[in-house]
């Protein structure tokens, strides 16, 4: 304990210099901005800023780059809540209730809860990294292909719980998502599927393309056809601060979301994606009135937002302790370290402790700065809703276009997104929710990849999924969830929800 305090002290000493606090502020401010701009993600931003960091000391460079990353997670929820645009897979579920709250004139409350929940989650996850980084990294190694497959099964079962409407439609949308996810090169054989000889399809559809189309563009088309809703939406911005009732409803989901996110975030390859979905499903299951979900339930914002921010922090663990990047942003961070001659890997912690602990300390400073930065900004963001649609929509579409293009420097991708926009409009018309589709699309390919890899390694022996304890536990949880959904009491509330639809 004393040792830990000493190390943290050393970290704060390194991170609290005037220069490093400045770079931290620059990072989180930039992150918030690109998070708010739909489509522009941290990957493109960090890639652009990488050359700038050559001249900085390594710690300052890492502090700034990681600030951009978790700042973007904060900012991403703003667009999800205000205009129903998930910039990252983790903000998809924030759209469900966050946007519903905004439509009821409670955008300020949703933003406030998201910011405070994220701050708590960020603080907790940072502590977790400080205390348990090494043992947690062992979890990541315990997850073999069989465990990943079972985790994805659990995630998909949870997806069905996600939908607020018809169970049949939710399953149909999840399956459609799985099919869209199949497009691209099969990892195991290297063969292209459903790419129709189009090179741009050989890696499948990028997440940004699918989500911008299904959520953003579809929502804009849909809103254009109804004039009256605009009045309600813009004249009634609502209070900016969560009320006592909101706090009462939110604090437990925040704790649970933080816990889920912290654990799942450690898993490289799909863990972080699952955390916000898992938190949403959990809150819906635990709620005394699940039908409120999708209609603007504050728990549906508090839980997933905390989960995704906690996951964003703990996803540093595999990179810091094992030298293994768990996502594209971490790969860039590894690149930034290598440029400075630091070889990421297990030895960083012992050879460059000031770097390791300084970065951790900076995460806490960054989270504090984010709250200070974001709470006053809520008023400004909410006022954005008063911008007339004729100005707001072209601007959103423009940023979406830039964002989609920046992923692969490909104009074809923008055409794909427009196609998904048309599809999304059709879904709104026939009352199908895009969230289960998106989850199926994200998890499906991961599930298949790991299923086949697990079977390859087990020489075709399918019992591997139940003979490995961790995998068996996850599958048992999935079965339990199905049983719970099938129980009469729950089915009743489902029917009620369906009728309300």
């Amino acid at each position: 304990m004393i040792e830990l305090l000493g190390q943290l002290g050393q970290g704060f000493e390194a991170a609290l210099t005037l220069g490093n606090v400045f770079y931290c502020l620059v990072g989180v401010t930039l992150g918030t901005l690109i998070g708010v701009l739909p489509g522009l993600g941290p990957v493109a931003t960090i890639a652009m800023l990488l050359p700038v960091t050559y001249g900085l000391p390594p710690l300052s460079a890492l502090i700034m780059l990681s600030g951009i990353y978790y700042g973007a997670q904060y900012g991403g929820s703003t667009t999800a809540i205000l205009v129903n645009l998930p910039g990252e897979s983790s903000s998809v579920v924030t759209c469900l209730d966050g946007y519903a709250m905004a439509r009821q004139g409670r955008a300020g409350t949703a933003l406030g809860v998201a910011a405070l929940g994220s701050f708590f989650a960020g603080t907790f996850a940072t502590m977790l990294i400080a205390v348990l980084a090494t043992p947690l990294s062992e979890i990541a190694l315990k997850f073999g292909p069989a465990e990943y497959f079972s985790l994805m099964v659990l995630g998909l079962v949870a997806a069905v719980v996600l939908a607020s409407g018809s169970l049949l439609k939710a399953i149909a949308m999840t399956l459609l998502g799985l099919l869209i996810g199949i497009v691209g090169t099969d990892v195991n054989s290297g063969i292209e599927r459903f790419s129709f000889g189009i090179p741009e399809l050989s890696d499948g559809f990028d997440f940004v393309i699918v989500s911008m189309g299904l959520f953003g563009i579809a929502e804009i088309i849909h809103n254009l056809e109804k004039n009256e809703s605009r009045q309600i939406f813009t004249s009634n911005v609502g209070r900016l601060w969560p009320g006592r009732e909101d706090f009462r409803r939110s604090w437990k989901p925040v704790m649970r979301g933080t816990f889920l996110g912290s654990i799942l975030g450690v898993l490289p390859g799909g863990g972080a994606v699952l955390s916000s979905f898992a938190s949403y499903s959990l809150e819906k299951k635990l709620s005394d009135d699940p039908s409120r979900f999708g209609q603007g339930a504050v728990e549906g914002v508090a839980g997933p937002e905390s989960a995704n921010n906690a996951g964003a922090q703990t996803s540093f663990i595999p990179m810091l302790t094992l030298g293994i990047p768990s996502n594209a942003v971490m790969a860039l961070m590894v690149g930034a370290m290598m440029i400075h001659g630091i070889v990421p890997g297990p030895q960083v912690m012992t050879e460059r402790p000031e770097l390791f602990w300084g970065l951790i300390a900076s995460m806490w400073i960054g989270n504090a700065l984010l709250v200070l930065l974001n709470l006053p900004l809520i008023g400004i963001w909410v006022r954005l809703l008063k911008v007339p649609y004729r100005l707001l929509y072209p601007a959103i579409l423009l940023f979406c276009g830039i964002g989609i293009y920046s992923v692969n420097q490909s104009a074809v991708d923008i055409a794909f997104a427009v196609g998904f926009g048309a599809l999304g409009y059709l879904f709104i018309k026939i009352g199908c929710e895009p969230a289960p589709l998106l989850l199926g699309y994200v998890l499906g390919p991961l599930m298949e990849e790991n299923l086949r890899r697990a079977l390859l390694l087990a020489r075709g022996d399918a019992t591997v999924f139940v003979s490995r304890p961790l995998s068996a536990t996850l599958l048992a949880l999935a079965v339990l969830l199905i049983v719970v959904v099938a129980l009469p009491a729950v089915r009743k509330t489902r029917e009620v929800a369906f009728q309300e639809d």
């Binding site: 290297g190 390859g269 790969a331 290598m338 692969n408 420097q409 390694l457």
Partner: protein, 330 residues
């Protein structure tokens, strides 16, 4: 028509033509090149060795050419999208590319359609840097040396697994190449990129992993995995205690993963010469060597002819591996 008059006339015509060409903005002109920013295509997303090489080259070339050189990441289809894009760009010296080994010497063997033969679709300018492929074993794998690993694989054919960063990558080919040379059968387990492939090795899900020193050296150094051998001519200064594959009884076994600078086919000779000279000068700078070393890369300058020969040799080598191992995308 006298024989004296003709040369004078043609000389004048040539002078006029040259003057016109200088004044014509659309003509590809080697004389005033580069007169506008140059695009340097990198076939992978930001992060990773190819991107790092691209960024170092772009930064240093900008300084020396007094003209911006902009990195454009065009990922997708295992470098095929970038390859196609570069091959179809005008050969005016304003579109250059960082080409990894696989794009030039493996892709043409496995592609079904749109295959680009390396020496007819591109102009080789210079090799830039290389690193060796290494072989590592999982901590829970009983073999501690390459010899023991081969013995295990011989005892139980197809039982020993190796992870790679993907099907038909240089890493995959390295594994198949070694299996062929050693006369064993290894089970290939492909992953999406190096990070999950190495995680699987650390966790003991697979027995062996082939990957570049960039990826494996830190893990071997930290003692998290067992370094069995390096597929290079000589031992690496990064891991002086790890023997080469050749030392262990497979003479000539070498799998360098290199990055070269290429342009579209038919790049003007003067531009190739100028660029090759600049790259050679850049790679001689200690600061550049140091930054490459950060990625476990070694500078490897050479003439365009040497680079072309390298491509020809590796193209033939991997063509043979692809056929022998029966790797197809059908």
């Amino acid at each position: 028509m006298s024989t004296v008059k003709l040369p004078r006339f043609t000389r004048r015509a040539a002078l006029i033509a040259a003057a016109l060409a200088v004044l014509t903005p659309f003509a590809a002109q080697a004389d005033n090149w580069p007169s506008k920013p140059i695009k340097l295509v990198v076939p992978y997303p930001p992060g990773g060795a190819a991107d790092a090489v691209g960024r170092i080259v772009a930064e240093k070339l900008s300084e020396r050419l007094q003209q911006s050189v902009i990195v454009e990441n065009k990922p997708g289809a295992g470098t095929a999208i970038a390859a196609d894009y570069v091959a179809k760009s005008p050969a005016d010296g304003y579109t250059l590319a960082i080409a990894p080994t696989g794009q030039l010497t493996i892709l043409p063997h496995v592609q079904k359609s749109g295959r680009l033969e390396p020496l007819t679709a591109f102009t080789p300018i210079s090799q830039v840097a290389y690193t060796a492929v290494a072989i590592a074993a999982a901590p829970n794998f009983p073999a501690a040396t390459l010899k023991e690993a081969v013995a295990l694989a011989k005892a139980k054919p197809g039982d020993v697994t190796f992870s790679s960063s993907g099907s038909t990558t240089i890493i995959h080919l390295a594994g198949e190449y070694f299996a062929g040379e050693a006369g064993v059968k290894l089970l290939h387990v492909p992953f999406k990129g190096s990070a999950p492939a190495v995680t699987a090795l650390l966790g003991g899900e697979v027995n062996l992993a082939f990957d570049t020193l960039t990826v494996l050296a830190p893990q071997i150094k930290a003692g998290k995995v067992k370094g069995l051998a390096i597929a290079a001519k000589e031992r690496s200064p990064l891991l002086p205690e790890v023997p080469t594959v050749a030392e262990l009884g497979y003479p000539g076994f070498e799998v360098p993963s290199w990055f070269g600078l290429v342009g579209p086919a038919g790049l003007p000779k003067e531009i190739v010469k100028r660029l090759n000279g600049e790259i050679t000068a850049i790679l001689a700078q200690p600061a550049v060597k140091e930054r490459l070393a950060g990625q476990a890369l070694q500078a490897s300058p050479g003439t365009p002819e040497q680079f072309a020969q390298r491509i020809r040799d590796d193209y033939a080598k991997y063509g043979k591996v692809v056929r022998q191992a029966g790797i197809t995308l059908e």
